[in-house]
Every structure is written in structure tokens, then in C-alpha cells.
Amino acid sequence: MGTVSTVLSPPALRTGMALAGAGFRRWATYRQAMLAGAFTNTVFGFLRTSVMLAVAAGAGGVAAGYRGPQLATYVWVGQGLLAVVQLWGWTELSDRVRTGDVQSDLLRPVHPVLSYLAADLGRAAFALCSRFVLPMVVGLIAFDLYLPHRPATYPLFLLSMLFATVVSFGVRYLVNLTAFWLLDIRGVIMAWLLCSNALTGMYFPIAFLPGWAQAVLWYATPFPSILQAPVDVVVERGTAGHQATVLAVQGCWAAVMLAAAVVVQRRAERRLVVQGG
């Protein structure tokens, strides 16, 4: 099956757009679940903002370089992003591996990584319009949030969210692919749950950690690129140059994760052929 060049050919991109549209519409039908999720994100927004503002107050206004409103924005953008990058709960591919339905994915003339990525981007677009917006509105009304001062930050933030979604997709795809070898991926999912909670910036800003730990996480793991990166872009942490560095790191990780997904996919398919399905 395909190489990176066939994945990115123009007809493949058109197919991708169609698949993304389908992904968007599919998720748009789950209105109840969307509202329930947005409600939960909002409650967690209140919880975490309260903690972060208490931290900022205790630290005399500035904690690890973040001011109170920046920390509040960190929390609300983070809650909104959870659904956009869909940190948790995607087991569609591994379920299909377990049931054997995955074979029909391989019969389609589209590379599976591309078709799942396209569907995921469609899903993310819907989440951006719904589950990102709803808690953000509540956060804006209830708290003094930091809004970007530099106009360029807005498009950069969108780009950063795109990268974040792709990196998150890559990790989730790889997690799901392990089903080809393990069948039961509960353990892998639990390990991912641990990393996604502790290392993406979900539980606390990465900057609260010691310097060496920050460096290791940012450059040697994809995790901060999924959540902390878009947040740091939108709260304009550091200079414009710092923003660019964050985006560059994210872009690299997006490319690495996609390439890894394609490579592992190929090996998984070979395994499927050997096993006879």
C-alpha cells in the first residue's frame, strides 16, 4: 500500500475532504452526547480555574511566568481542546481489528491512515464549532480570560490546533494499531491515559515542572504538542519567536507521528496477511 506521496496526491486529497465532511456530519448527529460533554468540560473549567487562580494568588500574581488571566485561559482553552484533539475514548480502529471488520478498510482504495485522519479532522472541525465554543463562552462570561494582543496569534492558534489534532490522531492511531499484536489493548489505553493526563499539560502547565523535565517533554515526546502547545500559543507565552518555536516543534511531531502511523500500519497489514485474518 501507499507511500507518503500517494497519500498526498490531489485525488487522494479530494477523497480526504469528502471523508472529513462525512466525519463532521457523523459527529453532528450526537447532539445529546455533545451537550453532555460540553457541560462536563464547563464544570471542569470552573474546578481547574479555581485551582489555578488560587495558585496564582498564592504565588503573588505570577506562577511560572503565567499571570492569573493567562492561567484561566489555559484552563478553558484546554477544556475546549480536549474534545477537539479527542484525547480519550477513540477505540474505533482497535474494535474493528478485534471484530475483523478492519479487513474491509484495507479493501478500500484509500490509504487507511489517510481515511481515518480525514474523518478525524472532520470530527475535530465539528468539535471546534461545538464543544470548543460552548465552554469558551461560559469561561469568557464567568472569568477574566487573557485574550491575544497580537492579531497574528489567532491564525497561528488555528494552525497550532490543527497540528495538535494531527499529533493526537497519530498517537491514538498507534495505540489502536497495537490491537493487531495484542488484541486486548486495555493496558496500552491505560498507559496513554496516564501520559495524556500527566504529560500533555492537562493536569498542570508543563512550565510548573523542573526545567530539565520540560525540555525532555517538549523535544523528546509528542505529548506537550497536543495540549500545552496550542494553549501557550494563544496566551502568547514568551515572544513571537517563542510562538514560532512551539509551532515548529508541533509541526515536526505531526510529521513524525503520521510517518510512524504509515510505517506501523504497513507492518500490521503484513501481520494480518500472515495470520490470514
Binding site: 450526537y30 445529546q32 452526547a33 453532555a36 460533554g37 457541560f39 462536563t40 464547563t42 464544570v43 471542569f44 470552573f46 474546578l47 481547574r48 479555581s50 485551582v51 487562580l53 488560587a54 495558585v55 496564582a56 494568588a57 498564592g58 504565588a59 506562577a63 511560572a64 464567568a142 495484542l182 488484541l183 486486548d184 489493548i185 486495555r186 493496558g187 496500552v188 491505560m190 498507559a191 491515559l193 496516564l194 493526563n197 500527566a198 493536569y203 498542570f204 510548573f208 515542572l209 523542573p210
Partner: protein
């Protein structure tokens, strides 16, 4: 009929089956156990991380906060060990597997608890108790007989309060099949809420979570009583001793909601 199995044997058999099913996949099982052990520590670790950048939270020092977090964590993990997997009920309802649960001659709640039990939950609860002991030894507690009783009762009442929220929360799926994460706002949200002194939360939010839902009685009030501190928010001094009462009330309410909910079940699909 001497060899007719007892109900207890039925639950034991369910538990055994679940263990065998899980340990079939050895690597997955080991990874699951290790990762979940670390996740349990995350709440306490995040308290450590936050205190790297601040010396105090709403007037509570690191050791005081750690004690509250330890109590909250112990209560939550005890609850999670017993009824935490009632979470899976909404999956059961969504996929229609709940039918099979209803078709067996066993009660629903214990079936879900034993049928999906994972031994790592025992490990997690034990781990939480160790953390609590460490927090107690670091904190400045003047031990009295009353406080000794409290330190045993508090995690138990807290666990019952959490359990009530879990059970009541899971019933939303009876009414709204796609209710998804709604209940998480109160179960896992409740856990996050209880870790920190309630003084950090804005007024109405605190009123709902701390007093209406009773989460202040899980760790905050018992923590104050153990530390011998008056509530900086000025609540009456007897409240910290009311946790068991609140737990009984919560459990009763949850049982009622559950009964109504099961009657409302509409089995989906064919």
C-alpha cells in the same frame, strides 16, 4: 440439595471469570496495572507540582493541602474499588448488553460490580491508604480519641458519598442513552473538587458542590477537624463531624434514583 451453589458463590464465580478473562492478555494486564497505579498518584503529584510554584493555596500550607488531598484520594479510591465500574453501565445500556444483565437471576448492581471488577482496584485503594498515612505523618495533627475515630470514619463516609454520586450519575443513562460524559462532571469532577480546600472555589459553585452535593464532607471538613483548624469560611464547628450522616442521606437518595431509573430502562436495538 447440598451442592446447589450459593449466591455468594455466584458472585465469586463472576469475579473469577473476570480475572481469568483479563489475565489472558498478560502484557496488557501488566501494563494496565502499572499505569493505573501511577494514575492514582496523579492527584497527589499534582498537589506537589502546584506547590513548586506557590507556597500556599487559599491559606493552606503544603502539608495541610496534602492531608486534604490524601483524605479525598482515599475516599475516592475506596469508592472506585467497590462501585467505580458502574461507569461501564452506560456502555452496557448503549450497546444493549444491559439486557443480558437483567436476564440473570442476580441483582443488577452487584453483577456490574463483580462482573467487571479489576484487581488493580484493590492495589489502588491500598496505595491511596499509604498516601494518606504519609500525609497524616507530615501534617501537624494532635491526636485525640475523637480524631482517631474520625480518621477511620472519614474515608469510609467519603467513599459512600462518592459511591452515591456514581450510582445516581450512572442512572442518567436510563433516561438519556447518549448522556456520555455528563455524569463525569459530578463523579470525577467531585474527586477533583474534594482534593483542594473548598475556599478556592467561587461562591455559588462552592454552594453546589461543597454543600448541596455534600463534597465538603468528603475531605475538607474532616481535614479541618483533624488539623484542629476552624473553617476560614466560618461554617459551624460541628459540621466536620457530620460526614457519616451526609453519607447516609446521599446513599438513600441514590438508591431511590436508581430504583426509578431501572424502571425507565428502554432496551435499545432489536
Amino acid at each position: 440439595m447440598a451442592d446447589r451453589p450459593t449466591t455468594a458463590a455466584a458472585y465469586r464465580a463472576l469475579l473469577g471469570a473476570q480475572l481469568r478473562a483479563q489475565t489472558q492478555y498478560r502484557f496488557s494486564f501488566a501494563l494496565d496495572t502499572a499505569a493505573s497505579a501511577l494514575i492514582t498518584l496523579l492527584d497527589v503529584v499534582s498537589v506537589l507540582v502546584l506547590f513548586r510554584v506557590t507556597p500556599a493555596l487559599a491559606g493552606f500550607s503544603f502539608t495541610d493541602s496534602l492531608l486534604i488531598a490524601g483524605l479525598a484520594n482515599a475516599a475516592f479510591q475506596l469508592c472506585d474499588m467497590c462501585v467505580g465500574n458502574i461507569d461501564t453501565m452506560r456502555e452496557y445500556i448503549r450497546t444493549g448488553r444491559f439486557d443480558a444483565v437483567l436476564l440473570r437471576p442476580l441483582r443488577v448492581l452487584p453483577q456490574l460490580v463483580f462482573g467487571d471488577f479489576s484487581p488493580r482496584r484493590i492495589g489502588r485503594a491500598a496505595q491511596a491508604l499509604v498516601v494518606l498515612v504519609v500525609a497524616l505523618s507530615l501534617a501537624d495533627v494532635t491526636w485525640t480519641p475523637a480524631r482517631t475515630v474520625l480518621v477511620v470514619i472519614a474515608p469510609l463516609s467519603g467513599a459512600v458519598i462518592f459511591g452515591a454520586v456514581f450510582v445516581a450519575g450512572s442512572t442518567t443513562a436510563f433516561w438519556f442513552v447518549e448522556s456520555g460524559e455528563f455524569a463525569n462532571a459530578f463523579t470525577y469532577g467531585g474527586r477533583d473538587f474534594t482534593i483542594y480546600p473548598v475556599g478556592i472555589y467561587p461562591g455559588w459553585f462552592r454552594a453546589v458542590f461543597a454543600y448541596s452535593l455534600g463534597f465538603a464532607f468528603v475531605a475538607y471538613f474532616p481535614g479541618l477537624a483533624l488539623l484542629g483548624r476552624p473553617d476560614p469560611l466560618g461554617t459551624p464547628g460541628f459540621l466536620p463531624w457530620c460526614s457519616p450522616l451526609v453519607a447516609v442521606l446521599a446513599a438513600t437518595a441514590a438508591a431511590l434514583v436508581w430504583r426509578v431509573g431501572v424502571r425507565h430502562y428502554r432496551s435499545t436495538g432489536s
